[in-house]
Symmetry: C2
Subunit: 193 residues, 2 copies
Amino acid sequence: MFDQLFKSFQEKVTLTPAEMELCKSFFIPKKLRKKQVLLQEGDVCIYNAFVEKGILRSYFLDEKGNEHTVQFAIEGWWITDLSSFLTNSHSIYTIEALEDSELLLLTTEAREALMDQIPMFERYQRLLLQNAYIANQARINSTLTETAEEKFIKLGKAYPGIVQRVPQHMLASYLGFTAETLSRIRKHLREKE
Amino acid sequence: MFDQLFKSFQEKVTLTPAEMELCKSFFIPKKLRKKQVLLQEGDVCIYNAFVEKGILRSYFLDEKGNEHTVQFAIEGWWITDLSSFLTNSHSIYTIEALEDSELLLLTTEAREALMDQIPMFERYQRLLLQNAYIANQARINSTLTETAEEKFIKLGKAYPGIVQRVPQHMLASYLGFTAETLSRIRKHLREKE
DNA sequence: CGCGGGTTTGATGATGCTCAAGCCCGGTGG
DNA sequence: CCACCGGGCTTGAGCATCATCAAACCCGCG
């Protein structure tokens, strides 16, 4: 149940066995079926979710009704609406499971308590935030400099696990173009070889 | 000299007068003339810079030689290449002054020391990072959903201080389009009224 | 006064979007 | 077991937005 989580800890910080044991009590295990929703647009996001198994995504709708995927999260990743979670504001995002999934949830209070009791957990959280910030910066640069085809190729290289497990139109909405465009890109790549 | 910095502290956390006094010794005051460079592409970013006076920007060049502005920073803002600063990697960005400016610099070591000695400073840093993350998320959403004209209007509303003080082509490169397009957008907005 | 960076304007073109239709395939109910 | 349904993917035609390239203009500064 906590395999992926502890693996994630160990990649960034060092926790004692006692601390790991203590951790367990703060997380709420939760299973989601495919298409079930963890956070509904308009609600306040009260959970930081860690994915033990499965795959989720967050997305929002613009005024024209177009879907924009913000993030995917597979095993070993965190997902939440940080803006809503941190400021208790209403979220514009929806977070849903794309496969049957197993999560470990952390409420705001549990997170604060953990940071108080285990200093290394605060460090872990800060490192996560730093990495997320840097990844977002890279994503902005990518939208400014790359063509649709380059973005898709890069995504495939960076996250092959995601490209294979997710419907095409969601990849397209993540990369910032339409499903039709992605279809044509794939055709073009096929014809190249 | 520290007016803007202490103002920024007070907006986010509470420091005792003694802590404020202690802080001062960790910062390195630095003046930059217009067009002078704080961080050169290829170097490792060793400073977190706080702007007391003036205005700076960070930018990078893509393979075609096009300039992309990443961030502007006016009085009361921080600017750095966080990715390079935190991981000691070579920066792809250049940071330069757009006007004669006065900065307060924080090295990696000074930052760590301050976080050790003043817990509220660590909280302040975390809040900055959170805000930066949220702002980046909003910027990504904006590029996905808005037209060039909408982006420009929004920028004017959000940061009128920047729009007035910065050359047009830098605004365009920040917003993700060309100087010619921005010129046409401005013409269009003029003709509307 | 002349230079040069920044901005404007015009003509043309590429990239990706929209709308519409057809196809493929897996799931469901008769 | 088959027919049907529907979601997702593909394909095509026309179109909108913005980029590119080139020229002219404007204006502050040396």
